[in-house]
Every structure is written in C-alpha cells, then in structure tokens.
C-alpha cells in the first residue's frame, strides 16, 4: 500500500494524546515556526497534566515577538491558561519586559505551573541527543552558574563541563512548509530552528504544513527532515482566522473556559 501519512483533520491528528503526555513544540518565539492549528486542536481535545518542551513558554501572544503589524496569533499560552499544562521546560519562559506577564509566568507565580529553565543550546542539543540515541553528553554551557546545580561536573583537557541528559517526548508538534505523502519535510528560513530537531526525538511526530506535494516534488538534496521521522501530516487551511488571538478569546468566552 502506498505510504500516505496525511491525516484529514487536526482533531484526528491529536485525538490519541493522553493526559500526562510530554510534547515538543517549536516556536522559536514568533509565529513562523509555530504549529498553531495543532495547539488549538489540543486545546479543544483537552488533554491535561501535560509537559511542554519548547524554546519559549509561550511569549508571542503576550509580547508580540516576531509578529508583523496588527496580527496576533495564539501560541502554547492557551494550553497554560486552560490549566492543561503541569510543567514547561524552556529557554525563554517569560517576556523580556517584567511588566508584561505571559500565561506561563502568571501560572508560575500562582504555583500552578512548574518551569525548568534550560540554556537554549543545551535544550536543543539535549533534544538532538534524544533523537540520536545519545543518552548524555558534556557541555561547557552553564558551568559556574545557577544552572549547574545538581549536575555532574567533569574536566576534559583542563576545562570544566556539565553532564546533560537526552530529552525525548511522546509527541512533537512540528510546523513545516512543504511535505510529501511519505513524510519528507522542508522548512522556510528561520522557521526551521527547533522544528527540525524536535521531529527526530518524539515517538509520534505530527507535522502541520502549508502544502503537500507529490513524492519527487521536493528535491532529495533539499529535504530537511527525512520521511522516517514523521508519522502524521496535516495541512493548514488557507484561512488563518481560527488561530488569531481574537478568535481564541471569543471561543474561550463562548465555552466558558479559562
């Protein structure tokens, strides 16, 4: 049977996510790499007690990071607001401006959310290690700082390093540009960032894409994520109304969900 990983709806793509799942989620910050429709589907699905591993804890919605004039998109803040998230592992958990609180900082202040702060390079390397079968590695990053607490320190060639362990997840929510039905992915520009790494380290990687092309429609020299890493593909609708922050606010009121 021809391989065809395209799933007809975002709802179906996330239907089997259980309470307590760990989820990789890109979003370097701005909307380019953010799997908005998957996030919205997970909000509607309602799975609870989630652990989210992401570069940020959802700051774009609060701070407008990387968003061109006017439009505001949802991000993982909506999962935190709805109380679905137990813990976030992130590099940028809060906004740059202490007076602008994102949902994560609010929940953290109220004791409702655990946040683990990890240097960005260490975070992404731990994810790469998770995908590459490397259980642990040493890094110079963080030595002599608060973040070395509880970590093994070791000297190689006269320099100190910390031992860091691999991160994996049950699901990865990926935002890509094009896919073929086999699962090969290409990203656009700086939206590749965490997406291409997270795709390698989850049990089930779900890609939200702009377009599905025929096999051969992506030059094999240009593939960023080889097909084997991707289990499900869902195509974004051309209309982005559902993921606009205003739509979310309206729906939230409608459903009485906070």
């Amino acid at each position: 049977m021809p391989i065809n990983k395209v799933v007809p709806s975002f709802r179906e793509a996330v239907a089997d996510i259980p309470d307590g799942a760990t989820i990789f989620l890109d979003g370097f910050g701005g909307p380019g790499g953010m799997p908005h429709f998957l996030i919205l589907a997970l909000w509607e699905h309602g799975a609870k007690n989630l652990t989210i591993i992401s570069n940020t804890a959802g700051i774009a919605m609060a701070a407008g990071f990387g968003m061109p004039g006017g439009k505001r998109y949802i991000d993982h803040s909506i999962l935190i607001e709805s109380g679905q998230v137990r813990k976030v592992i992130a590099s940028f958990p809060v906004t740059a401006n202490p007076s602008v609180l994102c949902a994560a900082e609010r929940a953290w202040r109220e004791g409702k959310l655990e946040i683990e702060t990890v240097p960005q390079g260490t975070l992404v390397e731990r994810i790469r290690a998770g995908g590459a079968g490397i259980p642990a590695f040493y890094t110079p990053t963080g030595v002599g700082t608060l973040l070395e607490r509880g970590k093994e320190k070791r000297v190689f060639n006269g320099r100190e390093y910390l031992l860091e362990t691999a991160l994996t997840a049950d699901f990865a929510f990926i935002r890509a540009w094009k896919a073929d039905r086999l699962g090969n992915l290409v990203y656009r520009g700086t939206s590749r960032n965490f997406n291409a790494v997270m795709a390698t380290a989850a049990r089930i990687t779900i890609a939200e894409v702009d377009e599905v092309v025929e096999p051969g429609g992506i030059d094999p020299d240009h593939v960023h994520t080889p097909a084997l890493y991707v289990k499900r593909i869902v195509v974004r609708p051309p209309d982005d109304t559902p993921i606009l922050a205003e739509t979310y606010e309206a729906r939230k009121r409608e459903r009485g969900r906070v």
Binding site: M1, P226, L228
Partner: protein, 223 residues
C-alpha cells in the same frame, strides 16, 4: 516426502522479504541482505535507509546510468526515485543509533543462542571493517540475520558462544538461513519455527551449534 534441499541465496532473501511490513523503515546490509528488496511483493511500500546518507533507495541504476553521487553503503549505484532524501553521515547514524530503523537485515559469521552477533572481524586477518554494523545492531528495533546455516567448512554458524569477535550482544531476534527460520527467544534460546523442505528438526539440529527448541507449529519454509 519432498527432496531435501537448501535454499539458495535468493531463497533466503525471499523468505526475509516476508518479514518487512508495509511502510517499514529498513536497512539492508551487504551480501544476501541486499537481495531482499527485489522480493518484496509489489505494492508494499518500504522506506530503505542506507548509511551512505539516503532514505528511500530504489532499485540499482541501469548500466550507463551510474551516478557517483548516488551510491548505497555497498558502493552500488542507485536509481534516482521520487521521494528520496539525502543527509550527512552524522544524521544517517543518528537515525540508526536513535532507534528509527524498524528492521535491519545483516549477514553474520556467527550468531549465538542469545542473539549475540559476530560479523566484522576474521581474527586471522587481524584487522577488519567495523563499518556501520555495530550501530545498526544496537540501534535497529529488529535485527534479522540472513546467512547460510553453516560455513564453507560445514561448521555451524549458529553457536552457544561466538568465537569470532562480537558486533553486539543479544541483538538478533530472527535468523533466516538456507535450512531454517529461528527465533531468538529472550532468556530461553532458539526456537525453530520453519524448516527447509525435506529436512527434519534432528538434521537441522545436527548442523547447529546450540540446542533448538521446536515450535509446536513448526512449518516448512514457504517462499
């Protein structure tokens, strides 16, 4: 009673081909394993991975069409087919070590009853090509060995303890030979599941260096 026969190399490959489910990610080693892909039934789509840095390998290139930038791990030239993806070697091996290969089919010098695999070094040569075999053996979700049941001198290649240097310990789950299909059962040893036409379990046991448990539903190998 049918005539006693040993499967030939293509016969072994045909039997292994039945183990590859639709949609699987598969890495085929050099030798008999390379033959497997041509016996996968029409319409079953498999994603073949090669350590040379490619996923979605198709058939071998036709003579005159060889492209030096499109080879498999054995140095054979591949046809360019739709849906391929190229990557560098660190990524190629991250795929293997990271557990993303569903099945690898490897040749062997010896396999032990616990599934230890030896396939890289002839001690008398003193030096050998370790290649990507160790990464495949520890990384693939399922390791199938495809080999002759005995070596050129007629000695068993399936043994209690490997005498050749190991590739990895306790990694093999299925052995397909010219005489039998054997499952390595964790903590129990070897289970004889299928047998070549005309052979008895006792005859196969005599050519095997480790004790065999006979499957209650022992069958003749069908190709």
């Amino acid at each position: 009673m049918p005539t006693k026969q040993r499967l030939d190399r293509d016969g072994i490959a045909m039997r292994v081909a039945k183990e590859l489910p639709d949609g699987a990610v598969v890495n085929l080693g050099i030798g008999i394993p390379t033959l497997v892909s041509q016996y996968v039934p029409e319409g079953r789509e498999i994603l073949y991975h090669s350590e040379s840095g490619v996923l979605g390998c198709g058939p071998l290139a036709d003579p005159g069409e060889e492209d030096i930038d499109l080879i498999n791990a054995g140095g054979q030239f591949l046809k360019k087919v739709p849906g391929m993806a190229f990557f560098h070697s660190a990524d190629a091996f991250a795929i293997m070590r990271g557990g993303h290969i569903d099945i690898t089919v490897l040749g062997a010098l010896q396999v032990s009853e616990r599934g230890d695999l030896a396939n890289w070094l002839y001690p008398e040569r003193g030096i050998g090509n370790v290649g990507g075999g160790m990464d495949l053996a520890v990384g693939a979700k399922r390791v199938i060995v495809a080999m002759e049941h005995t070596d050129k001198q007629g000695r068993p290649k399936i043994v209690r303890e490997c005498t050749y240097p190991l590739t990895a310990r306790e990694c093999v789950s299925l052995i397909v030979t010219d005489l039998a299909v054997l499952e390595v059962v964790k903590g129990k040893g070897l289970l004889l599941r299928e047998i070549a036409p005309g052979w008895t379990p006792q005859e196969v046991q005599a050519l095997t260096g480790a004790p065999l448990h006979i499957a209650p539903d022992l069958k003749e190998i069908e190709l």
